[in-house]
């Protein structure tokens, strides 16, 4: 188990390094560059050259990358051009908020998707299955921004039940103190995930219901419900654990849209604004955080899978 973990960690580090290279190169290939973005179109060539020299942008790309990596190792993610704040402190401020949004959405998605998936599987081919399948595809196919707009129009404009703007408090505690404001962002983020997870669970439960061990359990005299709970569910939920881990990047792109839509002061909004203003250090910092989260997510999924599935656990 330790060896397995060490191996997966080493792989994760390599992946992260590659992520940083790719992000770095991509950003520097953008036309215009940060100087124009910061100093404006009116700036003189001298000013641009000065700025580039100051920031080290006149050196070769590999050199710049190494400098960036060196700073990274000391925990220095650079300074935001626009916000006059270190990227590190920006992230420290925003990350918990996005984590809160993503965590609440995932939890809601899981709570809804598991029973829905089971219901679809058990009622396969009947009305409930068809209706839920239809709704799932609808939710799955609807873009997040459109879904958010519809929800705002209905629940905030037509029926003034919920605020259209997310809580603006500085701390996680402060945000949680205004639960009404969280409802629409969380639901918007979660609905697509509910659709995907419930469909996935439906087929996993159906697969398992067809397995021989289910027949064995019935031959022992177990009732249908107990077979489902005691035998099928654990086997069917296993692949969902992996899916949860792999869903982190999707979740982030979802929060990016949702945060800018509801003006939720998280990492997504930060990224959105930074992208508009070519705020390179911020973009790099956020991308790196998302990369780490993605890699950690799949690592955690693997570990959880290994803990839950005895067949994986005993592999040396």
């Amino acid at each position: 188990m330790i060896g397995f973990l060490a191996k997966r960690l080493a792989q994760a580090l390599v992946v992260l390094l590659l992520v940083s290279v790719i992000v770095f190169v991509l950003l520097h290939l953008l036309p215009g560059g940060p100087a124009r973005a910061i100093l404006g179109v009116q700036a003189t060539p001298q000013a641009v050259a000065h700025f580039n020299h100051q920031q080290g942008y006149d050196r070769s790309l590999p050199q710049q990358y190494l400098m960036y990596l060196g700073r990274l190792l000391t925990g220095d993610l650079g300074e935001s051009y626009r916000l006059n704040q270190s990227v590190g402190s920006l992230l420290a401020e925003r990350l918990p908020r996005t984590a809160l949004l993503a965590g609440l959405s995932l939890a809601l998605a899981a709570v809804l998707a598991v029973p829905l998936g089971i219901l679809q599987a058990v009622r396969r081919g009947r009305a409930a299955d068809h209706v839920l399948t239809g709704l799932a595809f609808l939710a799955y196919a609807t873009p997040v921004f459109f879904l958010g707009l519809v929800l705002v129009l209905v629940f905030s404009q037509q029926l003034p039940l919920l605020p259209a703007e997310a809580p603006q408090a500085d701390t996680v505690g402060g945000i949680l103190a205004e639960p009404a404001g969280l409802v629409l962002p969380v639901v918007t983020t979660a609905l697509g995930i509910v659709a995907a997870f419930s469909r996935y669970l439906r087929s996993a439960v159906l697969d398992n219901l067809g397995e021989d061990y289910v027949r064995t359990a019935r031959a022992k005299g177990q009732s249908g419900t107990r077979v489902l709970v005691r035998h099928v569910l654990r086997n069917a939920l296993l692949p969902l654990v992996t899916l949860l881990g792999l869903y982190l990047p999707t979740l982030f792109s979802g929060t990016l849209v949702v945060e800018s839509m509801f003006n939720y002061p998280g990492m997504g909004l930060l990224f959105w604004n930074a992208a508009q203003g070519s705020d390179f250090p911020v973009l790099l910092g956020v991308t790196l955080v998302v990369g780490v989260a993605t890699v950690l997510g799949s690592l955690l999924a693997d570990v959880a899978y290994a803990v839950l599935d005895p067949r994986i656990r005993s592999v040396p």
């Binding site: 397995e211 064995t216 019935r218 022992k220 005299g221 654990r234 005895p310 005993s314």
Partner: protein
């Protein structure tokens, strides 16, 4: 007869799928006394498993009992509501299924699974149930049951898992055990152990048994009575001895005649049953077997025979008497060979044979690294020794049979012989040329000479390629002929293997199992090879179809002068087809020689042990116990010594080759005399 424990009366079962209804069971009558053992035999699709599942109300989706009663302890299970059935399942009726690999829950401990029926049906506490489960695991012969309780199914071998499945079925001490092909997925020596175990437990617990199997050899020694099923009905029903001595129904007779072990003369083709079982979407008029029966008359095609004790007899009051549903039964005289009359005549000419060696394997060894990864080899990590030092020759026109249990390395040997894998050490020579020295075009040309035939030809063909494309592909790869020439060649191949030429436009899944094996053979023969390596070519087939394929392989061998390396776990089949055989155990060839010599007078104790599993019980024999050790850490010296009754310390040293002349040799310190 005492009051029956189970009485099935006029049972009808329909299976409804989206587009059709199959009348899968059509009037089954069966009685079973307490403590009695009944065998249900027949080919796949005849309804034997459905009959067993009906008793527990576990029919597959779409299955429904439309008529009839299933009286168990006086309760009609066919009409019983689900809660009543649940009270019976696992409590008074236990069931063991075919595949021990899939019939246990992979994420539950063995202890929890065995204790589950107790928790459902008894008032035992958790601790008491676990104690009872542990006791039961000991009873079914699981070593160290206390430790095994906390293990998961994947940590056990197939045979051990089947013991767990039996423990699960028996833990509530049922009155009836239903075993559906309980040993089909297991090796012969394991199969023997499991059947012995079921016998012993049946005697000890005084329970009745329904044993469902396609294997007539299994049934012969294990049950009191047999019901032979065909097309959803019982064709013949008799106590086991009379049935085996003189089968009366022409179907039973044909089934026996197709068995390779009943063939008196290996030089003659096996009797086959042409055609296929009926599809039961409509109730056939007349005898269901009539379309495949050589004795059928107009009467058979118009009237349906009932179970009687003679052509003019009525139905005897004793429901356990010998009855059969046939208008033209075989003669009742035991002793006379009832199958001789339907056996085809021997071919006129003997097979041509030369002594020139075609395939020569020298000191062939193959091991696989136990741990994957790019550095496994350099680390010198432990390996699986799949094939360890095998030398043998296959002559032109000869069939060399390789027998052994799963994991003995016989399939690896086949792949090495074809050149699909490179040996770790040793050489493979075909027609005098070392495979390892061939490169590029030469190697490709060589591949024509040696072709493979698989157990499951459907899985070995691209499901999205039409048969024509499947058969043409080897010709295209080898650049043989133009389009027209290839088409002629394929038409010829289909003629050879007895398939209609129209088959080229169809897909592999549209064919039956036997037809697919014919396709597999046709593909192997497309390049006119001199050697075909056939890896378990008939293991997935029913006996009647198996006989067709074996006859076909033999006929083509005579016609084309082919050699076969015939790999199988089935001793009777190998004995029938092979001129010479090699017996493999854990990567080594323990014995080789002419087929008759090896089977009649084995030298190696392992060969003897294998043969004992298919022979009538002999007090002098010592059946094989234990399980094959892991190939990752094989025993030193003789690899069989851990299971051998004769083994001493000397066996830890490499065993010598001992011979009895005529090429019959074994590697053993203590060869058998006989």
């Amino acid at each position: 007869m005492t009051e029956p424990l189970l009485r099935i009366d006029d049972l009808h079962v329909d299976i409804t799928t989206r587009d059709r209804t199959v009348h899968a069971l059509d009037g089954i009558d069966l009685d079973l006394a307490p403590g009695e053992a009944l065998g249900l035999v027949g080919e796949s699709g005849c309804g034997k498993t459905l009959t067993a599942l009906s008793v527990l109300g576990l029919l597959p989706a779409g299955g429904r009992i439309t008529r009839g009663r299933i009286l168990f302890h006086g309760t009609d299970l066919a009409a019983a509501p689900e809660p009543v059935l649940r009270g019976v399942r696992g409590h008074t009726v236990g069931m063991v299924f075919q595949d021990p690999l899939t019939s246990l829950n992979p994420t539950m401990t063995i202890g929890a699974q065995v204790a589950e029926p107790l928790r459902l049906h008894t008032r035992l506490t958790r601790a008491e149930a676990r104690a009872k489960a542990e006791e039961m695991l000991g009873l079914v012969g699981l070593p160290r049951p206390a430790e095994r309780m906390t293990h998961y199914p994947h940590q056990l071998s197939g045979g051990m898992r089947q013991r767990v499945a039996i423990a699960m079925a028996l833990v509530c001490e049922p009155d009836l055990l239903i075993a559906d092909e309980p040993t089909t997925a297991l090796d012969v020596t394991t199969q023997h152990q499991i059947l012995e175990l079921v016998d012993a437990l049946r005697a000890r617990l005084g329970m009745a048994l329904i044993l469902v199997t396609h294997d007539l050899g299994v049934i012969a020694r294990r049950v009191d009575r047999v019901a032979v099923m065909y097309g959803g009905r019982i064709a013949e029903h008799a106590p086991v001895r009379p049935l085996f001595a003189a089968p009366r129904h022409r179907y039973t007779q044909a089934l026996f005649a197709a068995l390779p072990e009943r063939a008196p003369d290996p030089a003659r083709p096996l009797a086959t049953v042409p055609g296929r079982p009926p599809v039961l979407t409509t109730r056939p008029t007349g005898c269901r077997f009539a379309p495949r029966c050589g004795f059928a008359t107009d009467l058979c095609r118009t009237a349906e025979p009932e179970l009687t004790d003679g052509p003019d007899g009525g139905r005897p009051a004793d429901r356990t008497a010998h009855t059969f549903a046939c208008f033209h039964p075989a003669g009742p005289a035991p002793g006379a060979d009832p199958v001789a009359e339907i056996r085809p005549p021997a071919p006129a000419t003997a097979p041509p044979r030369a002594d020139a060696p075609l395939l020569r394997l020298t000191d062939l060894a193959k091991s696989y690294p136990l741990h994957g990864g790019p550095f496994a080899r350099r680390r010198g990590a432990a390996g699986i020794s799949a094939v360890a030092g095998i030398s043998l020759t296959v002559r032109r026109g000869e069939t060399f049979g390789i027998v052994g249990e799963s994991g003995c390395g016989k399939s690896t040997l086949g792949r090495l012989a074809v050149g699909l894998e490179a040996p770790t050490t040793g050489t493979v020579e075909v027609a005098g040329r070392d495979l390892a020295t061939l490169r590029g075009g030469e190697l490709r040309a060589h591949r024509r000479e040696v072709q493979l035939m698989f157990q499951d030809s459907a899985a070995a063909m691209d499901p999205r390629m039409r048969v024509g494309a499947v058969l043409t592909e080897p010709l295209v790869i080898q650049g043989i002929g133009d389009r027209a020439a290839r088409q002629r060649r394929i038409a010829g191949l289909l003629d050879d293997v007895g398939l209609p030429r129209g088959a080229v436009d169809r897909y592999p899944h549209e064919f039956s199992g036997g037809q697919r094996q014919r396709l597999g053979l046709a593909r192997a023969l497309a390049l006119a090879p001199s050697l075909v390596v056939a890896d378990e070519p008939v293991s997935a087939l029913d006996v009647s179809v198996q006989a067709q394929i074996l006859n076909l392989m033999r006929a083509l061998q005579r016609e084309k002068g082919l050699s076969y390396l015939f790999i199988s776990h089935d001793l009777a089949v190998v004995r029938h087809v092979a001129d010479r055989v090699g017996v493999m155990y854990l990567g080594k060839l323990v014995e080789t020689g002419p087929a008759e010599a090896v089977f009649d007078r084995p030298l190696h104790p392992y060969t003897r042990g294998l043969l004992d599993t298919v022979r009538p019980p002999d007090p002098a024999s010592r059946p094989l116990g234990g399980e094959t050790p892991s190939a990752a850490a094989p025993p030193s010296g003789c690899r069989f010594r851990t299971r051998c009754a004769f083994a001493t310390e000397r066996c830890a040293a490499e065993p010598p080759l001992v011979g009895r002349g005529a090429g019959h040799v074994a590697s053993c310190h203590f060869p058998l005399r006989g």
